[in-house]
Symmetry: C2
Subunit: 281 residues, 2 copies
């Protein structure tokens, strides 16, 4: 496993590939958890070589967000990756990625401004821009991403398709801990009490699926009950939505394409979770 700290070094490796070699890529902000490691394992299993990037991207954090306190521990991250068969770790600096005079940004209309984009203005602009840069540097065939950041996956799939890039996103299922909490680097911020309250997210998914299984199709009815449950967990709700999983537009009635998307604040920590509503599809 080789750590590469400069862009031209990473590009030299991409340039040296021969036709037919499949490059797998896992972009991360470090603070790795089992969810990240599962993405890497799958890439290693499916591709000829695997690149993992670690870059806490300032462009996707808002002014009052947690950029400065976001967990960073390269040595621990490398230790976790070492047994997995990852070939290259790309670890650039902010100055390399956004040098003086940097001016270019990728914007996606409609799907960037709703849901997480509504409460985090500019977030998906930052995500889309950095991923486009990383894709241009690494030139992967497959990019492995977790469905926990569901909107992110939809935004990036749209960007890659619109810009005629050949990189394909491989969507990987959410990894949860033994109590059902979706793994996130931000879970580190939670106190014990907050952790217990955060379990309301996964319970909300179960409640939604149970309602749907018994025939409930009204998005309003489901979201009202879920909101009530989350408030009882002492969560501050950012949004509780059921949307079409392709267009991210809000639905009135549940159908095969319905996805429940949740975002809440537990204390000072913002957490998200999501799930398909109807299971037998």
């Amino acid at each position: 496993m080789q750590v590469i700290k400069d862009i031209s070094g990473m590009q030299a490796i991409s340039d040296a590939r021969t036709n037919g070699i499949r490059i797998g890529f896992v972009p991360t902000m470090g603070a790795l958890h089992t969810g990240h490691l599962e993405l890497m394992k799958r890439s290693v299993a499916e591709c000829d070589y695997t690149v993992v990037s670690i870059f806490v991207n300032p462009a996707q954090f808002g002014k009052n967000e947690d950029l400065s306190r976001y967990p960073r521990d390269l040595d621990k991250d490398l230790e976790l990756m070492r047994p997995l068969g990852v070939d290259y770790v790309f670890f650039p600096t902010e100055e390399m990625m956004y040098p003086d005079g940097y001016k270019t940004w990728v914007e996606l209309s409609e799907i960037s401004d709703v849901l997480c984009g509504a409460s985090r203005p500019g977030h998906f602009r930052g995500v889309a821009t950095v991923v486009l840069k990383l894709v241009n540097i690494v030139r992967p065939d497959f990019m492995y991403m977790g469905e926990k950041d569901f909107q992110q996956v939809v935004v990036l799939e749209t960007m890659l398709r619109d810009l005629n890039l050949k990189t394909q996103i491989v969507r990987c299922p959410i990894v949860r801990d033994e109590n059902g909490l979706a793994l996130s680097s931000r879970n580190e911020y939670l106190s014990k009490d907050e952790y217990i309250r955060a379990l309301g997210l996964n319970r909300s998914i179960k409640i939604t699926r149970d309602m749907a299984k018994t025939g409930e199709r009204s998005v309003l009815a489901i979201c009202s009950l879920i909101s009530q449950h989350l408030l009882e967990c002492n969560a501050r709700i950012d949004y509780v939505k059921i949307v079409d999983s392709n267009s991210l537009t809000e639905q009135v009635e549940v159908n095969d394409q319905s996805r429940l998307l949740l975002a809440v604040w537990i204390g000072k920590t913002r957490l998200i979770d999501n799930a398909r509503v109807l299971l037998d599809n």
Copy 2:
């Protein structure tokens, strides 16, 4: 010379290249003139194969601009190209480039909103986006562009650098007709009287250089005189500026980096021209 009308056909050709093969690319909107042909000749001379795209990009035209009357004549364009040694002509449709649900746009801060970007809001967003798409489809090593669209060249160089693309722009000098008018597909719109008035643009460059040669360094003094000259030609001035040729910021005093940029309306036709101010650099 092969005409390719679909994106995947063009991508198959880019994919089939082997290492070390240099691809030259000339993006155009058709209505070819000698300026375009010079770009193609240079690409053919310097690269292993040359791709020319012809696409009248709706995204770079404003609502009240000349998209519908922009000259289109594929057969004539192909005839002009045939003797030059161009290998591939990429000729996609609007529906292929911007299919239903298209959402992704490239924006550049600062340099897109001044000069032509100030009078044509969204223009450089459209230019940057379509060129990024074309670059991703053709994957050229070198992209040949005329300095007539000086701001466009600066915007696209910035985009390619910021997004870590390896395509390099080869800047080619402005080609002028026997009376000094910079070649442009829009010159077709000019009546005889308007053509004569349009020659004021090139005369403005000569006046500027003469003033600079005799020691004048005040941008205000030069631009005042040039504006007066253009008004005497019955041109409606969009802008008369002397800017730093890298940052496009306006200067107060002429120096080695000074570039005169002109945009005027002659009747209903918008024309631009530009030149380095100090010649002996």
